[in-house]
């Protein structure tokens, strides 16, 4: 299951250890953007402990860089969402070119953001 092929159902059914083993960052959050999944790959990329990220509104506190119409607003506006966008994140405060995959579907409450460096 690669960055480009994995889907919301795969991610939602995964054990935490499986999710941690994926080679790209995975962030899962509810409609209110509160983080429920923050895999080990993403924790290494950002330098943040998943324990401090889980339970926090993602776009307000952790990922303000995506809190605009290009990412956060799309999760608000598009109930069915599967798109890959090139982006620049500020992982550990260094501008870092990444690819983001935005995933959401009405049947599953949790939405996912995949981050590939």
């Amino acid at each position: 299951m690669s960055f480009e092929t994995i889907n919301v159902r795969d991610l939602d059914g995964m054990e935490p250890s499986e999710c941690d083993a994926l080679p790209f960052g995975v962030v899962g959050f509810k409609a209110d953007t509160v983080v429920e999944t923050y895999n080990a790959t993403e924790a290494r990329q950002s330098g943040l402990d998943p324990a401090t990220v889980i339970g926090v509104p993602f776009f307000d506190i952790i990922a303000q860089c995506m809190n605009n119409f290009m990412v956060a607003q799309r999760f608000e506006d598009e109930p069915e969402l599967d798109d890959i966008v090139p982006y620049v994140l500020t992982l550990r405060m260094r501008p870092t070119k990444v690819r983001l995959r935005l995933l959401a579907t009405p049947e599953i409450a949790r939405r996912y953001l995949l981050i590939e460096r």
Partner: protein, 430 residues
């Protein structure tokens, strides 16, 4: 506390900080930045390099580059809360237009620290306060420079006092029965409303305040606030208006200088985005309420990046200044020539219909193409592409800007050095 956790604490602090923090070198290349800074830069950068502060803001604050270049001290504050007007229109829906404040500090020969903050809400409140303040100061300030009078619905003076004679130089008894519009200066060089236009708005809203230069009988100029309030008849034909003319003396050299600083582009002296946006919003109101035509021309220099690359930024800057000189000289009364981004300019033309705007765009195109700038590497000439649109085609500021941009793009793809005036390709003759 262990090192690991304190580093993580520092990261958490920077991730969550609600102000954009950036460190870059004097060419703008970003070394360190926090997520809040990226939140603002990413959408503004478009296809330009978001990892360079000046490139990312080239379209909205091209002046930052030259402000840094002209700052000679080794360290110190280059600007404090410098405002970047992201949106030119009145904002989308009920949202206020976005404005960012940027502070820049030089901390070493090649190190800059920048902050970016969203101040849209503050700017919006300031504007409201300023309107209220102007309104109250008109009512409360000293009465010496006042001339209250009453006019009929069509503008004919019903009664005036000796104050009118003192203020305007015209005898208050002689003017009774004459139309106030004939006594006031009628040419409106900065796009101010004529009296009849002002009366239309006052009849609807109950009052209207207008500012502008006025001429006394002896030719002397003064800055005049003109307040019109419905006094009888509820703004219907047959009713009357109370008018207060007020000589505002504080419009002195310092204020004029401040106005220039706030409304002009740092490098070229053309109007800046902020002034352009504010004027466009005001003129949009005039268009909506008075059906006064309003046109917009946007122009972008052709292959300007190649000029900067082969001749260097200083020559590129000289060229921008010369183009501003040439184009400003061709502006009609009330027209505004503004620098909107790096090599993109906008021309706002109140009271100009589409055909007039296209004709002016063609003259600007010829003037730019005829311009020759001497450089150490020989003579330099450029051309520009133009997009023209008029408010009647769209009805909104955002729509007008989008339409002119679309046509500018069409002029570029059609071969550059041309004016595109319509969205439909012209069918070949025959």
């Amino acid at each position: 506390m262990a090192d690991g956790s304190s580093e993580e604490q520092l990261l958490e602090f920077l991730y969550a900080c609600p102000v954009g923090l950036i460190e870059c070198d004097t060419s703008g290349a970003i070394a360190v930045m926090n997520p809040h800074a990226m939140q603002h830069l990413m959408p503004l950068a478009g296809s330009r390099d978001v990892c360079n502060l000046f490139s990312a803001l080239e379209q909205h604050a091209p002046e930052l580059r030259s402000m840094v270049a002209s700052f000679t001290a080794r360290t110190g504050r280059i600007c404090d809360g410098h405002r970047i007007f992201v949106e030119l229109g009145p904002g989308r829906g009920d949202k206020v237009p976005k404005v960012l404040a940027c502070s820049l500090v030089r901390i070493g020969p090649d190190r800059l620290i920048a902050t970016l903050t969203d101040v849209s809400q503050q700017v919006f409140q300031e504007r409201r306060l300023r309107e209220v303040d102007t309104w109250f100061s008109t009512l409360l300030d000293g009465v010496n420079g006042y001339a209250p009078l009453t006019i009929a619905f069509d503008g004919a003076i019903a009664s005036a006092t000796p104050c009118f004679t003192r203020l305007t130089g015209y005898d208050h008894i002689d003017v009774t029965g004459h139309n106030l519009a004939d006594i006031l200066t009628t040419d409106a060089p900065s796009g101010e409303l004529r009296l009849d236009e002002q009366l239309v708005i006052a009849a609807r809203d109950g009052w209207h305040l207008q500012e502008g230069w006025q001429k006394r009988a002896d030719g002397d100029l003064y800055w005049c606030q003109r307040l019109v309030v419905v006094s009888e008849g509820g703004g219907a034909p047959g009713g009357r208006f109370s008018v207060v003319l007020r000589d505002v003396p504080q419009r002195d050299a310092a204020a004029t200088d401040l106005h220039r600083l706030l409304s002009c582009d740092h490098l070229t002296g053309a109007s800046n985005r902020r002034h352009f946006g504010q004027t466009m919003a005001r003129e949009h109101v005039h268009w909506r309420e008075l059906r006064q035509p309003l046109s917009l021309v946007v122009l972008d220099l052709d292959h300007f990046k190649a000029v900067n690359d082969s001749y260097g930024h200083p020559i590129g800057d000289t060229l921008l200044c010369r183009i501003t000189e040439v184009c400003t000289a061709l502006m009609p009364p009330g027209g505004i020539f503004a620098r909107l981004g790096g090599e993109e300019f906008g021309v706002l033309l109140p009271r100009y219909d589409h055909a007039q705007a296209v004709e002016l765009a063609e003259r600007l195109r010829c003037a730019i193409a005829a311009l020759v700038v001497g450089t150490p590497h020989g003579m330099l000439q450029v051309t520009a592409s133009f997009g023209c649109a008029t408010m009647d085609e769209t009805g909104s500021v955002d729509g007008l800007v989008a339409l002119a941009d679309e046509r500018l793009y069409a002029a570029k793809s059609g071969g550059r050095n041309r004016v595109c005036m319509s969205s439909h390709a012209v069918a070949p003759a025959g």
